[in-house]
Symmetry: C2
Subunit: 367 residues, 2 copies
């Protein structure tokens, strides 16, 4: 059946020096979207402003006919419907989610894929049933090593036709806050965020949070599916096995101050006191420090960190700046409790993943 | 104050031959977004999937402190708050909205601006107070010729600092379905769609539907503000006065059949019967004909039109196709009751507006 797929599905590649964004990358950018950075002002991102990445199409899943099959290395296979899932004790977790490819479009050379700049992030309150409750009910066998999640979204990637599938190591799958989520911000999941049920894995990049979930398989072997073994690996060269992409690296983002020019998106501020605000997060540990530079990283001062009652969500921060006429570049840098911080320059890999180089915000103070 | 704005705000320009999408265009594409075309399946576009274009930033407007000033050539100036607006008789209208720049990124040469392909569209149910009720209450003077609408969004465009402003001719402003809308799909407007109140002008391209509305001014002179007199004009050459961009041209779009390749977005279908569905609309008159081609426009057959109970919304259509192994290009073409139809090739102008060239959907049938 797949003999002709190579005619329309090509190997991964890097852009040539000076090559602009292509029509293929633009087609992805036009349908997926980042979070407009002024929306960093919200503790919880309003629905519709949260970043969105769909590998294939948003599938049609009828909530009334939806079933979740739980099988593999388990004592008893389960088939859950939505009413059954909703009848179990629920948990709500506030989670900052970020696409593993955030920042890709600024890499040199640029991996040709979804061309994110820096805005592929959002925070939502997810409500659902802890995955471990369902796994415990099914009875995970002693041979189990991973749990594989299958979505209803179907497509082709680099010649491989597939349903979207990702696995988690068993210990991760038993995390207290890993959810089979059926609500986002207190309402049923919108179609584009995985209706009726998706996986939420706090701290992990977005590829782990399988949308339109239809099957859970407990496996006694490491999963070798496309999204784990081929995509979402950190590789310098195409042939390498590479390390898997997992937890979110620390990042701070500024609410761009002042107002923008429509086309250049350069910010304009007035002379005098300018309040700077933003958010910072890490999937590995709480953010413990945010530093601000108003001179493109030559000098830094500590920002004031706000409270952090939701450990999986971003942390607010504030700083003040006295703008003087001229051009400035603002930079923010987060450091988490493990000591991980953000590099000034790119951390390049062939997939363009987990790049957390600092955001640079050009500003004109027009006096 | 504006002496330095030309450093960051540049004249409109056309891309050079072969020039890829630039980082400025990508920054717009990453924050704005189209409607993923599989969402054509919904009569009303789920919130978050409707296309979105924000010229500057999404402003912060507190609904409790929001006031709408109505003034100019009126008998009595008004100041309305949200409770006052909500206490008046409401009207709900289903409206298909499209960005005037839809299709711009495929133009040759390409006007450098928001780089839409073909997906800048969406349909919503807007609820609010008919504008004419408020205008009548204020008492429009005999000298009035236009109504000017001012939003709370502020930025710079081609060197001009401005609040977003647009005018409507007086007769249009008195249309029965022109709304001061405070609900979208039965819920308060999301921030990105103009919270708490926006203008909705059925049949017009998106630039007329002023978001974050804060002021209405009845004017005795034609409005010469930037968005009417400089932007949103149909010009072949920069110096021309140009015709204003107004009503939406007819367009049909296909739900892309089968499933996509992630990167090329080419569709893959199986051999045999393939149901084709889509939507068609025109801001000028009801769509009366949709034709389908499965051979890139060489031959055409009529699609079956569905019912059309909401005159300002898109009309569904269906067609059938027997796919044979190989490469195909599907095309749909709408014609409205005025006889306006879609050209096979671009209708070029320097702003890239009102281009309704037919959509071409490449498909691989893999046998």
């Amino acid at each position: 059946m797949d003999a002709r797929l190579p005619e329309v599905s090509f190997p991964a590649r890097l852009a040539e020096p000076g090559e602009g964004i292509g029509m293929d990358e633009l087609a992805l950018a036009a349908r997926n979207h980042g979070m407009p950075l002024e929306a960093l002002r919200y503790d919880v991102t309003p629905t519709g402003l949260h970043y969105l990445l769909t590998h294939y199409d948003i599938p049609v899943v009828d909530p009334d006919r939806w079933r979740l099959a739980v099988g593999g290395v388990v004592t008893r296979s389960l088939e859950l419907d939505l009413a059954g899932l909703r009848s179990r004790p629920a948990r709500t977790v506030r989670v900052t989610m970020e696409c593993a490819g955030n920042g890709r479009a600024r890499l040199l050379p640029r991996p040709v894929s979804q061309p994110w700049l820096v805005e592929a992030v959002g925070t939502a309150e997810w409500t659902g049933v802890p995955l471990r409750e369902v796994l415990t009910e099914a009875g995970v066998g002693p041979a189990a090593v991973e749990v594989v999640f299958t979505g209803a979204d179907h497509g082709v990637e680099r010649g491989a036709e597939q349903d979207y599938q990702r696995s988690l190591p068993l210990a991760e799958a038993f995390g207290a806050d890993v959810l089979l989520a059926y609500e986002m911000n207190g309402a049923p999941l919108p179609p584009q965020h995985g209706s009726p049920v998706r996986l939420v894995v706090p701290g992990w990049y977005g590829m782990a949070h399988v949308k339109w979930l239809r099957e859970i398989t407990v496996a006694d072997q490491p999963f070798t599916g496309f999204q784990n073994a081929v995509a979402y690996r950190l590789r310098r060269e195409p042939g390498e096995q590479g390390e898997p992409v997992t937890l979110i690296e620390p990042r701070a983002l500024l609410v761009p101050p002042g107002f923008p020019d429509f086309m250049s998106r350069t910010r304009v501020v007035r002379q005098g006191a300018v309040g700077l605000t933003g958010r910072a997060w890490s999937g590995r540990a709480p953010v413990e420090r945010v530093e601000i530079s108003t001179d493109d990283g030559h000098t830094w001062t500590d920002a004031d960190l706000g409270p952090h009652p939701h450990p999986w969500a971003w942390r607010p921060w504030t700083a003040s700046w006295r703008a003087t006429p001229g051009r400035h570049v603002l930079v923010a840098r987060a450091t988490d409790a493990t000591g991980r911080t953000q590099p000034a320059d790119q951390t390049w890999n062939a997939g363009g993943f987990a790049n957390n180089a600092v955001q640079r915000v050009p500003v004109l103070c027009d006096g």
